[in-house]
């Protein structure tokens, strides 16, 4: 109790200095009044009584001062004095101060940055009313569902207050005769109401606006698109624009920052899902079996638990299984969060960011160890000053507090520098568009939590490395010191400095190991056989529905486009497909053996990656045809369905290699398809994936409005793009296209791997820098404190090698032990990290060799200058100096 009271009192003092001061004044005034009351009663006038009372109390000012000191306000003032003194001391050692501040700025900056991202993507709830009640329905780890299933779930559940659904599409928007690509979210009528959003301008559409297919041609603009595309003109509300050449009315603007329940995607506007046919040329709204990428988000009723909801949803699931056995199989639902696309993005993002947070914290720990040994060395150098102050009567706590104040001062300056750097980087990251083709954003604007955590980290690290000299101060013997004896710590087996160095090296070796494992995994998967050759290839994307082509007009138009593009000088092989591998979109379909009669999903031989491609696509993509033939222009709907499959498909579906040629399999809809060609395995969804079955169908037999033309050319991509654009414009001026090199087109599937590699490489480089400065510091200190000893040894005829051994053996031994420990932990840890980002790789001797080489290199570089200094000693000069 007493301690608590005392503490509370202290805090009151600390935070309410001025209030405390005025309270003392008040109390003394009250004393005078009470005293005057007494005197007044003895017959004096009030005025006279007060005068006497004041005299009796004595010098008020002086007592107020004494009282302040007793209260402990003095404590605060001492603190300020400490800080002033610390500033002065640090100004005398600018090199030391600069090293500490830079190290801390980097370490705390890294932490603030990682925490900023973690905070924005994982910790911070969605910026919507009651985000904790928002859930998505997941099945088999995905959020995708079909529209009819969604309707049944929406209407039959008893646990959601409302269930909305949304999907994204690319459309051509024409407001001024010059159509441009835009990204729209197709959403159900109740979308805004379920999310609880209010329009910034105009109105939203609601369930009551939906009256069947294509009944609600409305647009709600996102705030940023309204700003960038319509110059924030409020008069656009009520106006009509052409979406894919159909009139849509702009009825409202969403509030700033509203982008639905999904992070990462900043759509340009929202349109009703019931108008899907107009926007995509066809609609999946009636197809129960098509689990298109329609995702749901719903608001749980107040008081409903997720468990109750899952039970409730599974009742609907049973109903679906019973009534639609052909399409709806294993309808078991779970709840997931919409922000990161449920289980698709959530767990890996969370796991990776958590791992990154831990590594960043380790960087800070290593930095503190580094600075700790630096501070310890500095304290040892200042031992004379400290001893003198002790001898003059300063308390040991007082001196310690002084040192701590110095540490805090440095850590706060370094921390604010680091925070500023990280805020700049976070802002930049928020504005960055890593994937040129789609509006993918990592919005990670820093908030109060980021600032507070950076401040706390700074304080914590200041206390950590500032309290290292604690033992030194308490061991200082002023008597011996003043007599001129130098401090002798010899004989002790491991000093605190050495322990810190070993710890720091272990952490740094761990960081370096992790970054090497990741970078190696990344480059290895880049060099893996992708199944196509992205170098010197250009992709031109378009969607024929953007210019309102009917399905029967599409193949002819696509062929016209291809033929005109082929005629451009410098264009080699060319072909087109509905999708290209590793472009961020993945389509899987179930295939069945030829003999299968019951075509439900559970009986499928495999779920295979599916691409619809034109004749010439394989040559353009440089996909190796192992056997059989490419498609021809005669593989159209009038002849039997044909497919080219990859080796994995042949092995999985037919359990044989080459003999797959000529054999048949069945699609979900019962069509028999004959294999006419066999191609190399490749990568389809993720760069690090294991080989998976894939099939290519003739786009003439499976027409698609989505068109990606693959062109091989050695021409400058910029120039080529101009030529391509011009050619397409001549064919149809209303058809927007997007042109990029195939390497850029891989950005979306490489994004997680790239981010991981960059992040871990940066941390690894920081680790390397820290161990460099750490080894250097300790080695240099070890040489400088033993100069006399080394001089004597040299005078007695020691050889350079022996001198070096004496001077540097201990730091280098620490380097070896620390590195070994760090390497072992690093290999264990990086397997975990790698499994988040890449396929787990077997222990890799190359990694170990690289880490060992790296650490040895750092050791040699760091010890170089101290070693030179040790060798260049002049024993005589040294001895004369003493």
């Amino acid at each position: 109790m007493r301690l608590l009271d005392a503490l509370r009192f202290r805090f009151a003092v600390l935070f309410h200095r001025s209030r405390m001061n005025s309270e003392i004044e008040n109390e003394l005034r009250s004393h005078v009044e009470l005293c005057a009351d007494d005197l007044e009663r003895s017959g004096l006038s009030r005025q006279e009584a007060e005068r006497l009372a004041r005299i009796e109390l004595g010098g008020q000012a002086r007592f107020a001062e004494a009282s302040r000191e007793a209260v402990g306000i003095q404590f605060v003032e001492t603190l300020f004095r400490d800080i002033r003194f610390g500033t002065r001391m640090l100004r005398k050692a600018p090199g030391f101060a600069a090293i500490v501040i830079i190290t801390l700025a980097l370490a705390i900056g890294a932490n603030a940055l990682v925490f900023g991202v973690l905070n924005a993507l994982v910790l911070r709830p969605l910026d919507l009313p009651h985000p904790e009640n928002l859930y998505s329905i997941a099945r088999n780890g995905t959020l995708a569902m079909s529209y009819p299933d969604y309707l049944d779930l929406r209407d039959q559940n008893r646990t959601f207050d409302g269930l909305a659904a949304y999907t994204s599409t690319q459309v051509g928007l024409d407001s001024d005769g010059n159509p441009s690509r835009a990204f729209a979210d197709e959403v159900t009528g109740n979308y805004f109401d379920v999310l609880g959003a209010q329009p910034y301008l105009g109105r939203f559409f609601h369930s009551s606006d939906e009256h069947g297919p294509d009944s609600a041609p409305y647009i709600v603009l996102s705030y940023s698109y309204w700003q960038s595309h319509f110059q924030a003109d409020p008069a656009v509300i009520g106006h009509t624009v052409q979406l894919n050449k159909r009139p849509f009315t702009m009825i409202g603007v969403a509030p700033p920052g509203f982008h639905g329940p999904v992070l990462f995607f900043t759509q340009d506007f929202f349109v009703p899902l019931v108008n899907q046919a107009q926007l995509e040329g066809q609609s999946n709204l009636a197809a129960r079996g098509t689990q298109s990428i329609l995702m749901s988000v719903g608001r749980l009723k107040v008081g409903t638990t997720p468990e109750q909801t899952i039970k409730d949803l599974n009742l609907v699931g049973l109903y679906l299984e019973r009534n639609y056995p052909k399409t709806d199989d294993k309808m078991r639902f779970t709840l997931s969060r919409p922000e990161l696309f449920g289980d698709f993005g959530g767990p890996p993002t969370r796991a990776f960011l958590t791992a990154l947070t831990i590594l960043a914290a380790l960087v800070l720990l290593a930095a503190c160890a580094n600075l700790g040994s630096l501070v310890a060395a500095r304290t040892a150098d200042r031992s004379r000053e400290i001893a003198l102050r002790l001898a003059l009567g300063a308390g040991r706590w007082r001196i310690l507090r002084q040192l701590l104040a110095e540490g805090l001062l440095l850590s706060l300056v370094g921390g604010s520098a680091g925070l500023s750097i990280s805020v700049v980087l976070l802002r930049w990251l928020s504005a960055w568009q890593p994937i040129p083709k789609i509006p993918f954003r990592v919005v990670v604007s820093p908030d109060a939590r980021v600032y507070v955590s950076a401040l706390l980290l700074s304080l914590l690290s200041g206390i950590l490395f500032g309290s290292i000299p604690l033992r030194q101060v308490f061991r200082t013997d002023p008597y011996a010191m003043v007599k001129g004896k130098s401090p002798s710590a010899h004989g002790r087996r491991i000093t605190i400095r050495e322990f810190l160095l070993a710890l720091q090296i272990a952490i740094c070796a761990l960081l370096i190991t992790c970054s090497i494992v990741t970078a190696r995994g990344y480059f290895r998967s880049l060099n893996d056989n992708l199944g196509f050759e992205p170098h010197s290839a250009v992709l031109m994307d378009t969607d024929l529905t953007m210019a309102d082509y009917r399905a029967d007009q599409m193949p002819a138009m696509q062929r016209r486009i291809l033929d005109s593009l082929r005629a451009i000088p410098g264009v080699g092989a060319a072909g087109f497909a509905n999708l290209t591998p590793l472009n961020g979109t993945f389509r899987g379909s179930n295939v069945f053996s030829n003999s299968a009669a019951d075509l439900r999903a559970a009986n499928a031989s495999a779920n295979v990656a599916t691409y619809d491609v034109s004749p010439g696509y394989f040559a353009a993509a440089d996909t190796r045809l192992l056997a059989g033939r490419d498609f021809s222009w005669r593989d159209d709907p009038s002849v039997a369905r044909v497919a080219v499959v990859n080796e994995k498909f042949a092995r999985t579906v037919f359990r044989s290699g080459d003999s797959a040629l000529g054999r048949f399999f069945k699609m979900q809809d019962g069509t028999r398809v004959q294999v006419v060609g066999l191609v190399d395995d490749g990568k389809y969804e993720r760069i690090g994936e294991n080989p998976r079955p894939a099939m290519f169908l003739s786009i003439l037999q499976y027409p698609s409005s989505q068109t990606t033309v693959v062109l091989r050319s050695n021409r400058d991509p910029e120039q080529l793009a101009l030529a391509l654009r011009g050619t397409v414009h001549d064919l149809d001026s209303g058809l927007p296209v997007f042109i990029q090199t195939w390497n850029d087109g891989l950005a979306i599937s490489l994004f997680p791997d790239r981010m991981a590699t960059i992040a871990l490489t940066v941390l690894g480089v920081m680790g390397a820098m820290l161990s460099l400065t750490g080894i250097f510091g300790v080695a240099a200190y070890s040489v400088s404190t033993r100069l006399k000893e080394l001089g004597i040894r040299m005078a007695l005829g020691a050889q350079p090698a022996e001198v070096l051994r004496t001077a540097l053996a201990r730091p280098l031994r620490l380097l070896v032990f620390g590195s070994a420990a760090g390497l072992l932990i690093g290999i264990a840890a990086s397997r975990m990290i790698a499994s988040i980002v890449f396929q787990p790789t077997p222990p890799d001797p190359m990694v170990m060799v690289t880490v060992v080489a790296c650490m040895s290199f750092l050791g040699v570089v760091a010890a170089w200058i101290p070693a030179r200094r040790a060798l260049s000693l002049h024993p005589l000069a040294l001895l004369r100096e003493e």
């Binding site: 005392a6 009192f9 003394l28 009250s30 004393h31 009470l34 007592f63 004494a66």
Partner: protein, 113 residues
């Protein structure tokens, strides 16, 4: 009038604790109470009282809150905490031991006679 006795260093705190142990008091009241219970023998320099009070407050031996005095003045009243009680008892015993020891030492010794 007899000279008021000079306070021994360190005894002010003990006197304040004793005074306050008889019931909550404001600063001026502490002064009067000490004067009264010491039979007017001990007079405390008024201004020295407050640093003493704050010291005890900081050590958690006293607690204080603002209230109204008997003649309707705002004043800050001090009270003993539990720790303060314990300290008073302890210090009183210490004082008694010390006082009797010093008394015994100063008493006329047989060999002086």
């Amino acid at each position: 009038m007899a000279h008021p006795a000079q306070l021994l260093p360190g005894t002010l705190d003990l006197l304040i604790l004793r005074a306050v142990s008889l019931g909550p008091l404001h600063g001026y009241g502490v002064l009067l109470r000490i004067r009264q219970i010491s039979g007017e023998a001990l007079v405390i320099e008024q201004g020295a009282l407050y640093p003493g009070l704050f010291r005890l407050l900081r050590q958690g031996l006293l607690k204080a809150k603002w209230g109204t005095s008997e003649n309707n003045r705002r004043a800050k009243f001090y009270e003993l905490t539990r720790a303060g009680h314990a300290r008073l008892i302890e210090e009183t015993e210490n004082w008694n031991r010390l006082a009797s020891a010093i008394g015994a030492a100063l008493a006329p010794q047989p060999e002086e006679a």
